[in-house]
Symmetry: C2
Subunit: 456 residues, 2 copies
């Protein structure tokens, strides 16, 4: 930056800092947007995270690397109070895994063990397969699935609807004596693409190994069963859960000039599944949170309230980052003005949704009206809806106790195609989308930092 | 079929057999279409081929199974002269293969060795990687690639444009002393999807191992190189070529009632790559050829000329089926009225293209005009273009010697997404498309069997 531009920036920042009218923030947003598209810092950082570190499951050396690297990036961006806040995280390891159809004909199956699953016995598990389309169908079969592997072949009807089969399938199958559980991958399309994700056992029933199979394999076994053919498979999974491992949330701040004790959190999660590169889930969300702060800092905009970046650990298989943050920051809740979380990919932001769990309907409406007073700050970004709705998993534990969450609602037209797969990689990220998103997040955050508004 | 319907069929068939005006064939096409949609035989057969036999590379037991099974299906359909015509085929086996990026950071790579490649030395091949975007770029580097693995990171610009890098990449890289060659998979999209396919060495240079990597991995290595990072990988391939194996083309006929020595060939290839199920390439083409004949037979339509189904072996990595058929049937060429080949998937037929290699432009125009006289037979199928163009690889050797080829031009909007991958599976096939295609092929073939037309 040359001296005259620097002076202009300082003057503008000073002027802005004195303003509380959100309409006056529009020029700041324009500058944040221009800076984002000039520097493309989120894109460069995300490329590095994906290419040089790669996937980052809780307990892995890659996550440790990412935690160290994120602190150096925060410091380089001029954030202060950069530190890691330790939490212990689950340490599940996939091990070697494979599956093969033996009857009615040999076929290789492409699987991904589900996070938290136990492994198979040494030498693998060989059993007949029973295909069901729902929990009801399973319950009707009852003890007929004893000693068998249950395959939940449930077509995609949106993530929320279908993910319950991934999460609860093993527990429900074990209840009836099944020795293994498979789930059709939770996603709308497939190029022989298995999707992993977390599952949970019911302590009342045995822990049985569980994995996802592809849409291709699930529908194939369904056809075989419909023809009356006996389906038999061999499943080998080396999965195991090791003792909890140390990890940390990464935190850095731009301290507020007027009300530093009042905090706006910008966040994503740094961990990912142990496949692909965790580009969309949630490298993108993490990097736009970091970039939003960097943009504000780079333009020497001086927020009145503190803007804090939090990159959580272990969203995927434990939420220990979000839970730990809640426990460590309870005393601060009343001063957390809003906790933004971006965790639905890298496509353009279409909405910010205010998540108030303890407010009355009237209070929610009033809070939304307050948020909408900041809409001017988003004008450079085209239509972005401000509405009530959900926020994010990591901020969830705080939000459940009354902290206002703000979900960053990205268009997610292809998000679930690659979510939790080997295909969640950097090449699917559009450079301009990241710049747009970082600047939009920076703009609304800065507007909120300047305003008098409170949502709770 | 009840007796009165049977009588009606016989009468209709007799009437049709006496007709040579193609306009009068429209009712036959309507009946073929109705029968195809009533029975969906191609769909059922393709499901069996995919689910029970699976992929079918030359030399594999699965291809042998498919050859035996296809004959039983032809006999069940009432075809006569059902037999296998032996040819020897290449016998390449993939063996165990894996690849891993070692520098600048460890990453698993999903690869598929290219058909015909040699394996790596025992213990694998570890070398630095150089990324190039074209053969020109490789030539400019020249001896700088000596001892290295060359990655051809060439974006998809249509199959014909890009496939040369898969086919010739290893030979071109070996010429400059490279010890291995990789190619970005030849396809427009990827969910971590490697595409195999055939490659060829240049006998003047060493045979080096060669494989495809995914779009994801190719663009990642490109980014690494652009950042100036050293890229080092370990490649292990157990690929080898065994002695040629016995195989066969499968043939069956509906003998012509008027001119049985004049033959219309309906064909596809029964072999596939050793990944996925060979559903689109070319199970679909094979099954519509068989189904077209079955439909004609089921309706007791009595073609004047012979309709012959030929399911070739070894299109993918040798073309020995097509070459063998040419050699064995040379004496018959003048009586092969047309050789149809369907080898571009299962999507709806949009064109039939007449491939006349030895005709003058005037003769081609005249032949096309003759083909267009049969257009009435395609009326029930919506717009299907009749034009000059290519035919297919298997009929190619005959067509090169003057036999008229007719290419079956399917819409191929998603064909190359899954072509030669683990994702070429039955679930991607639309039931109604197969019925439509089988009936359209049956209709034009039957019209041609009834007509006096000759294209050569």
């Amino acid at each position: 930056m040359n001296p005259s531009r620097c002076l202009l920036s300082l003057l503008t920042a000073a002027t802005l800092a004195a303003q509380t009218s959100p309409e006056a923030l529009h020029p700041a947003s324009e500058r944040l947007r221009a800076e984002a598209f000039r520097t493309h810092g989120a894109y460069e950082d995300l490329a590095w995270l994906c290419d040089r570190i790669g996937h980052r499951l809780a307990g892995s050396p890659q996550l440790d690397q990412a935690i160290a690297w994120a602190q150096t990036r925060m410091k380089a961006a001029g954030l202060v109070n950069v530190h890691a806040e330790p939490v212990m995280v689950p340490h599940w390891v996939r091990g070697k895994e494979s599956a093969e159809l033996l009857l009615p004909a040999p076929h290789r199956l492409n699987i991904l063990g589900l996070g938290g699953s136990v492994g198979t016995p040494q030498g693998g598990l060989t059993a007949d397969v029973v295909v069901v389309g729902s929990f009801d169908e399973l319950d009707q079969l009852g003890s007929a699935v004893k000693g068998k592997i249950v395959l939940f072949d449930v077509p995609w009807k949106g993530y929320g609807h279908t993910v319950v089969y991934r999460h609860d399938g093993a527990a429900k199958a074990a209840r009836h004596g099944a020795v293994g559980a498979l789930v059709r991958s939770v996603g709308p399309v497939s190029l022989d693409t298995p999707h992993t994700g977390v599952m949970e056992y019911d302590s009342a029933f045995p822990k049985i190994p569980t994995a996802s199979v592809t849409l291709e394999a699930a529908t194939q076994m369904r056809r075989m069963q419909a023809r009356g053919e006996r389906i038999r498979m061999k499943l080998e999974m080396g999965a195991k859960t090791l003792p909890d491992a140390p990890s940390a949330n990464v935190v850095g701040e731009i301290r507020g000039t007027g009300k530093p004790e009042e905090v706006i959190i910008l966040s994503g999660h740094l961990d990912s599944w142990d496949v692909g590169q965790g580009a969309q889930d949630d490298g993108a969300g993490s990097m736009i949170a970091l970039e939003a702060a960097r943009l504000i800092q780079a333009l020497s905009l001086k927020p009145r309230r503190t803007i804090r970046v939090v990159l959580y650990t272990n969203e995927e298989n434990g939420l220990r980052g979000g839970l730990g943050y809640r426990d460590a920051h309870r005393a601060e809740f009343k001063n957390i003005i809003a906790a933004f979380e971006s965790d639905s990919g890298s496509e353009r932001i279409k909405a910010f949704s205010l998540d108030l769990r303890k407010a009355t309907p009237e209070a929610k409406a009033s809070a939304l009206a307050s948020l909408k007073k900041l809409a001017g700050a988003l004008e450079p970004f085209g239509p972005i809806e401000l509405r009530l709705g959900g926020s994010g998993a990591d901020v969830g534990p705080m939000v459940a106790e009354g902290v206002p969450g703000i979900g960053v609602g990205h268009a997610a037209t292809h998000y679930f195609d690659i979510h939790h797969t080997h295909a969640d990689t950097f090449d699917k990220v559009e450079k301009d989308d990241l710049a747009h998103n970082a600047a939009a997040l920076a703009s609304i955050a800065f507007a909120l930092a300047q305003a008098e508004v409170r949502f709770h």
